[in-house]
Symmetry: C2
Subunit: 318 residues, 2 copies
């Protein structure tokens, strides 16, 4: 039976409890790529008007359900990237919502990778949509109900506060984009503003905003997205924000290795969760799994890829 | 009959043709606030399970349809803010998609205020979702089909290019966040990076990226979001990016006046479109319309508010 994290606890505590229980800091990125989803999954929906947005969305949800079923014993956290659902219109967003619901039923922590950011009144709507609740006259609904989301800090503190306040109210988590993993991330994020880089200033602000949401392990529910592809910056950020959990993308397909990951963790072996998406979901299509498993054994390939990633990351923290 | 803009033309040309035809540079922000939607609109849906996300979404769509019907003779551009739709989950996103479809049927230009921004492969999915097309095996669908969207530049050039390339391919438009209208916008956007402010550097980059998409009136399909609440910055930006269309939020509720707006335009009277949302949609609830019209005459109040805004902005450019 799935053991759900205790949502009456600070998000950072829920996260750490889950990491300990699963002995895994892996985040599986649920990024559906329709073309790469095995035909065996698609077969089931051939009665639906084929090649419609509905068809794609139903295939995606079924794929995610199958993935969640076999990864749930191995990892504690998943991260659907909403862009790959919006790609299929509102049907895709339906699949996003249903994926979150199913993952939570299986006891997983769900980070919605939505990177939202807007002026205060609009940020409040996003916060309520993704980690809060909406009041429709006298009824309360939780539209997406993720456990945490990623947000974009470009608009400044007043745009971040609605997310942080909503997180505080509902014991949810936030990961602020501080230093992203893409090749151009330095273009603006590394600009020197006086004696500091822009991303360092954002890191300091994120740390301050998160102080009020510190849990029993000493970590804040307000974390940061930090690209593992830039190990020098990661090491500096680790010092600036020791109590912030880092959500690290870029393991696997984006090029970061276990060696690059070492500097993401604190001495206590905590402080970072590491995401891989394509290298797990479509492992059947990636070496060395490609050579060992065909597409029909895609689940075995993915399971092996998760087990190997868990082992590599445990080795980093040994 | 609605005259749709010619989608075989550069987006800036479509925009200017529409502005000339309607003699209006007003953008009506379609930001549904459920509480403020008149009961008369809600009545129609009482047979649906009341106070569900579906109920809210159907009320919102009906409200938007009624708004679009009476504003379409007066203005040429609408801007739904997707946050206020996501607030009602995937049902809300359905209302967002249907709102865009209906507005386009009525010949309006639709700017999706989505403020997306992500690493390149993800940005590509967002671009295809909102202004492009998706291939589901051998079938092509256009999930949201807005004419333009707003995007967030924080991740740098490689995160902007997928949007710009998609805009170029499909004759769509982009408005890059350069200097936002919220009170904290200066916190990061005004930081001095060497001899320039961050938002000036982003303005220069946006100008460069837009050069390749210049239309017959000399304006680019790649514009900028610039808050009218900061008139000094707007004047400086007008000089840095003379060929970029400015999408100006903050008229009405956010505090900018016609006087603040003057510096947004070029000498040719072009170069800016001005958004108002709450002050139009819920004019029945705002002075001076509140005193003249009750909630039952909400459409008259809104229509008057649009007419007055059109007149004020024509006066600015006289």
């Amino acid at each position: 039976m799935a053991v759900a994290s205790d949502s009456s606890e600070n998000f950072a505590d829920q996260l750490i409890t889950t990491i300990h229980r699963k002995n895994s800091c892996v985040v599986v990125g649920l990024d559906p790529h329709f073309k790469l989803i095995p035909d065996a999954v698609k077969q089931k929906f051939l009665t639906i008007q084929k090649y419609s947005l509905e068809y794609a969305a139903r295939v995606i949800l079924e794929f995610n359900i199958q993935v969640i079923d076999f990864i749930a014993p191995l990892v504690g956290i998943v991260k659907p990237q909403i862009a790959f659902y919006e790609l299929y219109g509102w049907w895709g967003v339906w699949a996003y919502a249903e994926t979150i619901k199913y993952a939570k039923e299986k006891g997983l922590i769900v980070i919605g990778d939505v990177k939202r950011g807007d002026i205060p009144s609009t940020a409040e709507a996003y916060a309520e949509a993704h980690i809060g609740e909406v009041h429709i006259d006298n009824v309360v609904e939780t539209p997406f109900a993720a456990d945490a989301i990623t947000i974009n800090p470009f608009l400044g503190t007043d745009s971040l506060l609605p997310f942080i306040q909503t997180a505080k109210k509902h014991n949810k988590g936030i990961f602020v984009l501080v230093k992203t993993s893409n090749a151009s991330s330095g273009e603006f994020q590394d600009l020197m503003c006086g004696s500091k880089k822009l991303h360092e200033i954002i890191a300091e602000k994120t740390r301050e905003l998160g102080k009020d949401l510190t849990g029993k392990y000493g970590y804040s529910a307000i974390g940061a997205v930090v690209g593992a592809t830039f190990s020098q910056e990661v090491s500096a950020l680790r010092k600036i924000m020791p109590a912030s959990y880092f959500l690290i993308p870029g393991y696997g397909t984006q090029g970061a290795t276990a060696k690059d990951i070492k500097c993401c963790f604190n001495q206590d072996g905590l402080g970072a969760i590491i995401n891989a998406s394509r290298s797990i979901l479509y492992a059947y299509n990636v070496s060395p799994w490609k050579e060992r498993y065909g597409v029909n054994a895609w689940k075995d390939a993915s399971r092996e890829a998760v087990i190997k990633m868990n082992e590599e990351l445990r080795e980093v923290n040994r």
